[in-house]
Symmetry: C2
Subunit: 658 residues, 2 copies
């Protein structure tokens, strides 16, 4: 009984010490320091104390914050470039002939956008929309796309250098996971198994998963992933149907002027919001499913588990977030046919783009999904921990905590003095996903900022704005609402580097295609240099619109009733011969000239960017010179010491022999 | 005087020992073993004994032979693929409608190939040429181009793995040049200089080159390089003029039938030989110049010197070897205009391609330059060392060797017994270029095998044939004619890896362009799918030839005298409207359709190859699993030993304290 009484005395002493000196020690603690110096929103402009972060959260978490800080820094030039493009659009606004032409085109009657129910409409209705488009799609966009493609390469090259410096600073150069332990879950699941194997590295005997157990699990994972990808794509096309039916029903009702002017804004916006909701719902489902599937795969180490989960979730999220955007950027309105012969899929006409191009709709979609997602994340990230903690504190007296309590005497003490270890235990646990959602969020954002930056030049600016807050919010969350994580040593950001590299490569292609096929840049340039009389874009709008003879409508396609009388010709956005040409509705030479120009642009853009990328990679060494000198110096000193010691030893042996 | 006599006795002993036992020791020596087991041509099928090579020649030279062996091995599948394409051409020869059509087209009168002096000619004259073309340009070429682009990536990825294994085997993993010494030449040139600097790594004081001395030298280097590149390009265009004037003069003389049939083969062949001679002459000059320039740059270490020299010579050689090929592949006959309006540069018409496309001429050019260069190299590599050694043996009694001799007594001995150290000293010295010419030769060959492989599918086969010999010839040369090199430790093949990587990237572009613009593949596919009546290539030849009304010739362009009478229409290879069309000589829609198809092909080809490349890089880890396990095991054992030792130490200290 003696030891019991000693223990009791000790507990009382500790509780009293904490009571009187607690506040003081807390203030000096690393956690408190970090909370005050790093996690406060008011410190947003300060550099992060990464060494202290490493001390408290471990290398793995510190690498995330280091990367996030680096990324946020490099977003500054990108954001400035994007703002320049935007403000160039704002200031050269009055000189833009194309949008002025659209606004003045009250006498241009356009062909109906859907079968039967839709009426003809005036081109000038899209005036506001055309004006907005110009803000993003102006002369600077091509230069911007080029610079951002280089930016993505520079980002990775500079990160490689910076990462090498940090790795060296934290003594992890040449670090290998020499003998990573099996996951506890893996050992637990296989505890009864009699399939064992000798681990080559440690020489221990470990349970192993036979191939006939592993393959079905992997196949099952892949099929579920594919199934959910199909569901995600289906959701996007559900929204396409929504857009088309709203368009038709808006046409049926007697449209007010306001409606017809702004339906170009209203329909894409609501559709994008529905997309965003679908994305969220699917994410919720898939996150749970993916963890379950990865557990089923019985992967030996935490690293393998993380990698499998990362690829699984990332692939799905990629499809989930970007499908709607890819559809608008590359498929929508690209091959719709013409009023006499629409190209139908399952009997449905395809969506058309406004005469100003699909770029504005793409921008709206990007804005809603990217900024909406960020806002949602920030709110969720703040609310869920607070909520869960509150829930935990309610259940304080139940669960495993019971085991910690024994006598009523102590219970009194516990209520009198807040025990910090109980408090900390009550904090949120890191689930099996660990740091994953944080990286995922940032890498999805990086995707928006690189892949579709041409369509939404303000992307980097919003990303920058978000990240400045994100960094401090994450810090607060990690320090205040989550338990201190188990530290892990890692030499770099791991699989995410490869994902960023692939995104950078994809970005060159997507941006080239957006400029070539979604923006009006190439047709305008071709018009100016080949078709225009005075080498300006005067008459360009007229050039992009083809004539259609209303007598040539397919059976039952023409509007049932119309507010316009005596419409003989309506216009539609395409390059086709007019009805009075001998080869009516065939492709004119100009169509081919534009197409050749678009493709040539893609080939040139891709290859020039690749060339510059190779040059940048060649010119920027992976390790900064100063660091490389330092590593050499260290290695030199070590060698010198070894030589001296060996010489001493040799001399000693000689003496002994003599 | 006593030591002198000892020395004399020793010399006599050594000479006698060598005389009686010399043969025996030589046979057991590493050099002799290598000579018998590795350098013999009869051992060509055997794997190289790379560890022994490393022992004798040092790591740097052993890495060259390792790489060469690896490259030669991987050439085997490439050579097989190339042979399949070639033999597919041979076997499907009779079914090829396009070349048969050309051979039967005796009534197709073509427009003259040069102004005034050239006559009309019959298309069937190019019959033999068209048949040859089919051997290289058939249905399999596209698949071959795709596979070879992937091959280049696989080559690098697999080399990375193999190289990692070798590096580990030779104990060089993580090797850094910790403190590379300055070059002796550098120190000698700067011996009087009073600009000094402390070396960060070793702490020694070293002379340094001030910036105002370095910049002019670098600028001078660059300007000389640029100047010689311009000369190399001028040489190529000189040969173009040669081709054009030979064509004109052949037309002036009364051509025999033989001549008109084979001039398509004769002219490109002689032109290519002239190209090859020019290339050789320029190389001779530039090699000397480049070494001089690099010495002028005062580079501190041998590594820096080598790298600067490598880039300098490689850039020049690239232009020197490939310009004529690039001209034929991408410029020749691409935009020549049409008989009524030729596009002239400095008043000269441009060269045209034969109706079968420029591909055959490209193949001839490649064959002459690649195979010719290889044959030349092999001869030069064998003759020059033998010759130089013979020359050295003539001058044996002069030069620095004098200092080795002292008394007439010894001189007698020297003539009686061949001193091996004198023999070895008499061998050739490695110049400042070291291993460089060997790498250069192979990398230039790699360029031919990847960049232009579509135009000459037999390239890999000839390369393979050459390398099997090259490997053993190099070995013999290194063992027999050159002094044993000073060993250098290197962790990999250095800058050449990057050059190979860039060549692999370039290859995707060049092959895509060759198929799109030099081969007949795309026009034929477009014809079959869009213009043909029965979805075969029947009538394709006729489709590629435009009509020209001989009344429409520019002033003074029409042939002065002609052996054909009453030619009203002649044909030329282009897509243009016939003279009876309302827009005569304008571009028809088909021209644009073909152009769009060509560009689309390039975009698709490039992006699919890039995708597969990324996948290959992702799937093949840089270090083989077995090796990675081994490294981890080593690291684990080291850690365990350290822990044990530390524990022992700690236990010892404890005991002492108690």
């Amino acid at each position: 009984m003696r030891s019991d009484s000693v223990l009791k005395q000790f507990r009382v002493f500790w509780a009293l010490k904490h009571f009187f000196m607690g506040e003081h020690t807390t203030e000096n603690s690393l956690r408190h320091q970090l909370y005050v110096e790093w996690a406060m929103m008011s410190k947003w402009i300060r550099k992060q104390p990464i060494d202290q972060i490493k001390e408290y959260l471990g290398v793995k978490y510190a690498f995330y914050f280091t990367w996030l800080g680096f990324y946020t820094h490099l977003l500054i030039p990108a954001a400035i470039l994007g703002l320049i493009v935007f403000f160039y659009g704002v200031f050269t606004f009055p000189n833009n002939r194309f949008s002025s032409d659209i606004c003045n085109a009250t006498d241009t009657i356009m062909c109906p956008l859907c079968d039967r129910t839709c009426d003809y409409w005036e081109l000038s209705n899209t005036c506001f929309y055309a004006r907005l488009t110009y803000l993003f799609d102006n002369d600077l966009t091509v230069i911007f796309a080029f610079l951002m493609s280089i930016w993505a390469t520079l980002f990775l090259e500079l990160w490689k250098r910076y990462s090498a410096t940090i790795t060296h600073r934290w003594g992890l150069t040449g670090f290998t996971f020499e003998a990573e332990h099996p996951r506890p879950q893996y050992l637990a699941r296989l505890s009864g198994s009699n399939h064992t194997k000798v681990n080559i590295i440690t020489g221990n005997i470990e349970p192993t998963v036979p191939l006939w157990k592993k393959i079905p699990a992997t196949l099952f994972s892949i099929s579920v992933l594919l199934l959910l990808i199909v569901v995600a794509i289906a959701a996007v096309f559900g929204v396409v149907l929504y857009r088309m039916s709203v368009l038709a029903s808006l046409s049926l009702t007697n449209q007010s002027d306001w409606m017809s002017t702004y339906s170009n804004i209203f329909i894409p916006t609501t559709a994008a919001i529905i997309n965003l909701v679908c994305i969220q719902l699917l994410n919720l489902v898939y996150d749970k499913v993916a963890i379950y599937l990865t557990e089923m795969e019985l992967l030996r180490t935490q690293t393998e588990f993380d990698e499998s989960l990362t690829i699984k979730i990332y692939l799905f999220q990629f499809v989930n977030y970007y499908t709607s955007i890819i559809y608008i950027a590359f498929l929508k309105g690209k091959n719709v046919g013409y009023p006499a012969k629409y190209l139908r899929i399952f009997g449905l006409r395809q969506e058309e783009c406004s005469p100003g191009g699909c770029l504005m709709e793409l921008s709206i979609q990007l804005f809603i999904i990217m900024v909406g997602q960020q806002a949602l994340n920030t709110v969720v990230e703040m609310i869920i921990p607070v909520g869960l903690n509150w829930f935990n504190s309610l259940t304080e007296n139940t669960g495993r905590l019971d085991t910690l309590k024994s006598t009523s005497e102590e219970e009194d003490l516990a209520t009198a003095v807040k025990k910090p270890w109980i408090e900390d235990y009550r904090l949120l646990d890191w689930g099996p996903r660990g740091l994953f959602p944080e990286y995922l969020e940032m890498v999805m954002q990086y995707g928006f900022v690189t892949l579709f930056v041409t369509a939404f030049p303000l992307g980097p600016f919003f990303a920058l704005l978000n990240n400045v807050f994100e960094m401090r919010l994450d810090a607060k969350k990690f320090l205040k609402y989550f338990r201190r994580p188990i530290p892990h040593r890692v030499p770099n950001i791991g699989v995410w580097y490869r994902v960023l590299d692939i995104l950078g490569k994809l970005a060159v292609i997507t941006n080239a295609f957006i400029i070539a096929f979604s923006s009006n840049y190439i047709p305008r340039m071709v018009y100016i240099s080949l078709a225009s009389e005075d080498n300006t874009d005067k008459g360009f709008l007229n050039n992009t619109l083809a004539y259609f003879d209303t007598k040539d409508f397919e059976n039952g396609i023409a509007p049932l009733s119309s507010s316009y009388t005596n419409v003989t010709y309506c216009r539609y956005k395409d390059y086709r011969n007019p009805p009075w040409s001998p080869q009516k509705y065939e492709r004119p030479t100009f169509y081919y000239e534009v197409l050749v120009a678009r493709l040539t642009f893609i080939v040139i853009f891709q290859n020039i960017v690749s060339l510059v990328k190779v040059a940048v990679q060649w010119l920027i060494p992976d390790v900064p010179n100063a660091l490389s000198d330092r590593i050499k110096r260290e290695s030199y000193l070590t060698t010198q010491m070894i030589i001296k010691n060996e010489a001493k030893k040799a001399a000693g042996i000689k003496e002994k022999v003599l």
